[in-house]
């Protein structure tokens, strides 16, 4: 037991246990709560996805929500029943119009599609430095938002796609959350991940010592996109509908906020951020719904929850830039915390 708590695998095991415990607790909770926790687990996959790139490379990406959208729509198109497709997407090419793939195949296809897009767009982008790269990822977000939102024959454009198979429940989400955490952990412990993180602080030094920064960044970007794609898949198969407006600035902000508040520089931070902020968001949503006092309802105006979230994020940036996790991974209390630099 001692060797486990001190080993470098501890964070992985601990985080998985936490996720499973959370799902276990949710089993006992009322249905509404279960749905919230499922949503939180889906968020977790998205945040972990973002973390794989941002946390390791130090480059902020605004584009991961585009990958969520790609994963979501690819999976939707492949798994939607043909009857629903005939209604919403009458102009689909025959192959897609009749495709009714099993859920897991659709999900993997979604993740893979996102990964391929990341590979293609990342290939030129990863050569850019710092801010330029971030701006370029912002461009990716907008481009795909525009394309998906207007390619009506394939995606339905601005209209929602409905009738998607709803197979994402508590344990499906938890299962994928565990997979995401494992993938992220294996990546950051891999040679590529370690090299990337080491060069995060000093690009010049890394380049001078021969680290092929672009290649490692691209690898992280692709893995990140895969996970983000999966989270998009989970989202639409949880809601049963796909709408392009979901995948734009508000969601981008939410995922980034979760990562920043939890702590950008460690996997624990990503997981923590997702869980904590989902909880906080739930509380804030309650405030917007309101509390009944006698015959009146005391409710916060629309937008209140988002404003508080943004404020939280600013406070963290100003006073604790490394987030709640402080750049460290979860560690067994008696040992020294492993510092994730």
């Amino acid at each position: 037991m001692a060797s486990l708590t001190q080993s470098r695998w501890f964070p992985l095991v601990a985080l998985i246990v936490i996720v499973l415990a959370l799902a276990g607790l949710a089993e006992l909770a009322p249905a509404v709560m279960q749905r919230r926790i499922t949503q939180g687990l889906i968020n977790l996959v998205a945040v972990v996805g973002l973390y794989v790139f941002v946390g390791n490379s130090g480059v902020l990406s605004f584009g991961n929500v585009a990958f969520m959208a790609i994963g979501a729509y690819v999976s939707a198109l492949l798994t939607m029943p043909a009857t629903a497709k005939a209604v919403f997407l009458p102009d689909l090419p025959a192959f897609l119009a009749t495709a009714e793939w099993p859920a897991i195949a659709g999900a993997l296809a979604g993740g893979l599609a996102a990964a391929i897009v990341a590979l293609v767009t990342g290939f030129p982008l990863m050569r850019l430095s710092g801010i330029s790269a971030s701006i370029a990822t912002f461009a990716v977000l907008v481009v795909f938002h525009v394309v998906i939102g207007n390619w009506s024959s394939v995606t339905g454009g601005q209209n929602s796609l409905m009738g998607l198979p709803i197979y994402v429940g508590l344990w499906t989400a938890a299962g994928w959350a565990v997979i995401a955490i494992a993938v992220a952990f294996l990546h950051q412990e891999s040679r590529s991940g370690l090299l990337l993180r080491a060069s995060r602080e000093d690009e010049a030094a890394a380049a001078a010592s021969g680290v092929r920064l672009v290649a490692h960044r691209l690898f992280a970007f692709v893995v990140s996109a895969f996970l983000s794609g999966i989270s998009g898949v989970l989202l639409v198969h949880f809601l049963g509908t796909a709408r392009v407006e979901t995948f734009y600035l508000d969601l981008t902000f939410l995922i980034i906020a979760m990562l920043v508040i939890g702590g950008m520089h460690s996997l624990t931070g990503a997981v923590l951020g997702a869980i904590v902020i989902t909880l906080v968001a739930e509380l804030l949503r309650q405030a917007e719904v309101g509390v009944s006092i006698g015959t009146t309802t005391l409710a916060a105006p629309l937008g209140f929850g988002d404003a508080i979230l943004a404020l939280l994020m600013l406070i963290i940036i100003l006073f604790r830039p490394n987030g709640i996790a402080g750049g460290r991974e979860i560690a067994f209390p008696k040992t020294q915390p492993q510092t994730r630099t």
Binding site: S132, S134, A136, A139, V142, L302, I317
Partner: protein
């Protein structure tokens, strides 16, 4: 035929002017602080809402109110959110800027709701004039004029005043400017106030043109103008203005020249252009001379 073409040209120049002003506002802040001010969108929005509040009283009051609102918001944002972060690394600045923008937008939605509101601002400008036998919209000509005046005015300010000189020096090498005695706070505050002024002008013109205010009005302008700033060259003020202008012209030309099925993808083309420029010429079309740090 000529008339139609001239109309498109005037349209393009007018939109170009709007985006040039917006891009300049963004570029000013980036110049002195290496900060991409996402909140510039909210400066435009708040100016728009000031117009909504005051336009029934008098148009002059509305314009003044817009300027004051935008400049004040800019100064408040600088003082509370960005000053503590001076010298922080660019990734942090970017995230903070994003958060500030989001925060202000949501607060505005809380205060005014998310539905668009109609504003009949400067209806006198809705008419048309005849120029060399061609009918052109008065508002567009006014937009072009105002853009020109502000661009020339800003250039004059930067080139001919002490404060403008200090700003340009600070944009090139902040530390050395301080060593010479340039006061950081004053220069940065001036940049923010000036960007507020530009945002207000854009807002007034935009509201007059569209007849609407809504909480995301600044965002749609800034996202496009942002492309211009990058294409023109981050850190270069002439670059920002020129890039903004180019982008404005491009949106109109794309609208006019693209086949109808592709017109909706206009913005996608624009953003592809960003990526291409960043790759091929990362310093932009009119790069800042002597820029200390490569972005």
């Amino acid at each position: 035929m000529i008339g139609r073409m001239l109309q498109v040209v005037v349209d393009a120049v007018s939109v170009g002017g709007l985006y040039a002003l917006t891009a300049l506002g963004i570029g000013l802040i980036f110049g002195v602080m290496r900060l991409i001010n996402f909140a510039h969108a909210q400066l435009i929005t708040i100016a728009g809402y000031a117009v909504l509040l005051l336009f029934t009283a008098s148009p002059v009051l509305a314009v003044l109110g817009a300027i004051i609102a935008a400049a004040l918001l800019a100064l408040v944002v600088e003082r509370t959110a960005f000053r503590p972060l001076r010298g922080a690394d660019p990734a942090m600045l970017l995230i903070a800027s994003f958060a500030v923008s989001f925060f202000i937008e949501k607060v505005m939605i809380m205060l005014v709701g998310s539905r668009p509101k109609g504003v009949d601002f400067l209806p006198a400008l809705a008419g048309q004039v005849e120029v060399v036998g061609i009918r052109l919209q008065l508002l567009q000509l006014v937009t072009i004029l105002v853009s020109l005046v502000l661009l020339v005015g800003t250039t004059w300010f930067l080139k001919s005043t002490r404060l403008g000189l200090e700003m340009r020096a600070a944009a090139e090498n902040f530390r050395m400017a301080e060593v010479l005695g340039v006061r950081a706070n004053r220069v940065i505050a001036t940049a923010f106030a000036l960007s507020g002024l530009l945002a207000a002008a854009v807002a007034c013109l935009f509201v007059a043109q569209t007849g609407l205010v809504q909480p995301r009005m600044g965002l749609q302008l800034v996202i496009i103008a942002f492309v211009g700033t990058v294409i023109g060259g981050l850190g270069s003020l002439p670059g920002a203005a020129f890039g903004g202008f180019l982008v404005g012209v491009a949106t109109i030309l794309l609208q006019a020249l693209l086949p109808p099925e592709l017109r909706v993808f206009r913005e996608a083309f624009l953003f592809l252009a960003v990526a291409v420029v960043l790759l091929v010429r990362p310093q932009g079309l009119i790069p800042a001379r002597g820029l200390k740090e490569r972005i």
